[in-house]
């Protein structure tokens, strides 16, 4: 990362710490009866900035708990937030990774995983724009970069993780245009999960899209028409359509189906998937199973991919989570791959702005396996 970008990031961090509002989606909040994300997030697909109600929930489910006490905004805050119409947030993650085997002579790595600046302006009661400006970790911004030392630093690449304009048509319908992650799947925070990474839902997969969404107390629908964005590498460019529908027959259960059709420069994708979110106050289950048939343009062949995610979590306290996740990816020839990734861990929300997690993972394939310990500090300033 160049010094200029680094200094700008620190400056932005300090400035926004004064006036910010947060991100991150919690699909497991189905256990509290939240089917859709719109109660806590401005964005119907979750993540991004928190609504005032979401800020209250973030406080309630943190270690101090209780009610978020709001003080009257001072002159500076009123000025910096354009009298409450301009919202800011900083979202950052710092990660420590301990590997069983050495990679480039090192077992341990400590690196900034994420540093995003989020901005939103409410142009009217129905129209808002959302910007998420991110600094990518080196490995994410350049897949060919495997040098550990370089990976420990931020890349000098700034990019828009989200840049879109949204029109809230009425209480239930929203239309948005711009670039963002596709509103597909469980929307896990972990971008390395197979259901994200292998379905082109990584941190830099932000196609240009037109999104239409519907949210009611029992049903949520996300749909999008998408095309490449300017930053996509030539061979990654794809155009297509997707839809996800999730229905909650009763409190604590949501069942979903999703589909995607995409035509790319090198690969065409057809994806169908099923989702389940269930839970009670102290327990939750998240599950996703995706089947993708891909067509390799160059070789004129089809091959299939199965990706799955299953998470069981316990919440002995509001701010404490113990979880186990089981993941699997299976890809047919010519990219034959069969791998499992299972993990067990805990997450604590120390404060409405600060959380940490510790997880042990075992990644295993046919003839190899590797254990990892991941520790994360997650900062969400709003």
């Amino acid at each position: 990362m160049t010094n200029k970008v680094k200094n700008l990031s620190y400056l932005a961090y300090l400035l926004m710490a004064l006036v910010s509002t947060k991100a991150m989606s919690y699909p497991h909040y189905i256990r509290l009866g939240y089917v859709s994300c719109t109660g806590c997030h401005y964005a119907p697909e979750g993540g991004g900035l928190l609504t005032p109600y979401g800020q209250g929930i973030a406080q309630t489910f943190s270690l101090p708990g209780g009610e978020l006490q709001r003080s009257e905004a001072g002159t500076i805050k009123k000025f910096l937030t354009a009298n409450g119409k301009l919202h800011h947030s900083i979202q950052a993650r710092y990660m420590g990774l301990q590997r069983e085997k050495k990679v480039n002579n090192k077992r341990q790595r400590f690196f900034p995983m994420q540093f995003d600046y989020l901005n939103q302006v409410d142009w009217s009661s129905n129209i808002r724009h959302e910007i998420v400006l991110a600094v990518a970790p080196s490995s994410a911004s350049n897949p060919t970069n495997q040098d550990t030392q370089t990976q420990n630093n931020f890349s000098d690449r700034l990019y828009f993780r989200s840049l879109k304009l949204e029109w809230k048509i009425n209480k239930y319908w929203r239309l948005a245009a711009g670039q963002d992650n596709l509103p597909l799947g469980l929307r896990l925070i972990d971008h390395t999960a197979y259901i994200r990474e292998r379905n082109r839902l990584g941190v830099t997969d932000v196609p240009t899209q037109l999104q239409l969404s519907f949210d009611s107390s029992k049903l949520r629908v996300q749909s999008a028409l998408f095309a490449p964005n300017n930053n996509d590498l030539k061979y990654n460019r794809e155009t297509g359509a997707m839809a996800l529908a999730e229905y909650s027959p009763f409190k604590g259960l949501a069942l979903g189906l999703q589909g995607l059709l995409a035509e790319g420069k090198t690969i065409d994708r057809k994806l169908v998937g099923a989702l389940v979110r269930a839970g009670t106050e102290d327990f939750s289950i998240l599950g996703e199973l995706d089947f993708t048939r891909r067509y390799l343009e160059t070789d004129k062949i089809d091959f299939d991919q199965w990706a799955s995610y299953l998470e069981f979590a316990l919440y002995p306290l509001n701010y404490l989570k113990f979880f186990v996740h089981l993941q699997q990816i299976h890809i047919q020839q010519p990219f034959k791959e069969k791998e499992h990734l299972n993990g067990i861990g805990t997450e604590i929300k120390w404060h409405r702005y600060l959380a940490s997690s510790l997880e042990t993972r075992l990644r295993s394939a046919e003839h190899r396996s590797e254990g990892q310990i991941l520790a994360q500090m997650i900062l969400n300033l709003w």
Binding site: G33, C37, T38, G39, Q55, G65, E67, K171, D215
Partner: protein
């Protein structure tokens, strides 16, 4: 003579049918009540429940004509209702129930009483009943015009059923509360499930 015989016969028939009509039996039940209320934000629904009834009873007629409910009374302490989030429970107590406290400042009871209920078999092994009811919450009270009741008797002669009703908050003099931009709607769906198992 013929007229007299007919009169005696009619009296005898009437007496017989009265003799067949079972007298209602007061049954005490256990059960659970739950409520659901939508909010101005889609996907944010407030649901709560309690099973700590002080009183849950009904007069049941069980005869050759089938099952019939005559009276129902359900009473529960408002403070036992839980929504799953402590802060929300506090808000509910503070904004909904506290203003309805009686002068003596005692704990608020929610009392549902239904009378003059008509039941008809619904073609399955259940009976569908309709009736009117009054609900008292502290010092507030409202009439419920549309009460839906289902009643079933299983093979072991145990009764179970449910009472469903819509309750308007404003009808009770309660302004629908609001928290950080999310306001609950006026109509609350209330369900009382009961059984004598």
């Amino acid at each position: 003579m013929t007229r007299f015989a007919l009169l005696i016969f009619s009296i005898a028939i009437t007496c017989k049918s009265f003799a067949n009509a079972p007298s209602p039996v007061l049954k005490k039940f256990q059960g659970e009540t739950s409520f659901v209320v939508e909010t101005t934000v889609p996907g944010v629904t407030v649901e709560g429940k309690s099973s700590a009834f002080n009183q849950l009873q009904a007069d049941i007629e069980d005869g050759p004509q089938g099952l019939a409910l005559k009276n129902i009374k359900a009473q529960i302490l408002a403070k036992t209702l839980k929504t799953g989030i402590d802060v929300r429970d506090e808000h509910m107590q503070k904004l909904i129930f506290e203003p309805l406290k009686n002068k003596d400042n005692t704990d608020i009871n929610i009392v549902l009483e239904a009378k003059q209920i008509n039941c008809l078999p619904d073609g399955t092994d259940s009976y569908s009943c309709k009736g009117e009811a009054t609900i008292n919450i502290g010092k507030a009270s409202a009439t419920i015009d549309d009460l839906l009741i289902k009643l079933t008797k299983d093979a072991s002669s145990k009764y179970q059923g449910q009472v469903k009703l819509q309750l308007g908050l404003e009808k009770l003099g309660i302004t629908p509360p609001s928290y950080m931009g999310v306001t609950v709607e006026d109509q609350v769906e209330v369900l009382v499930k009961f059984n004598d198992k």
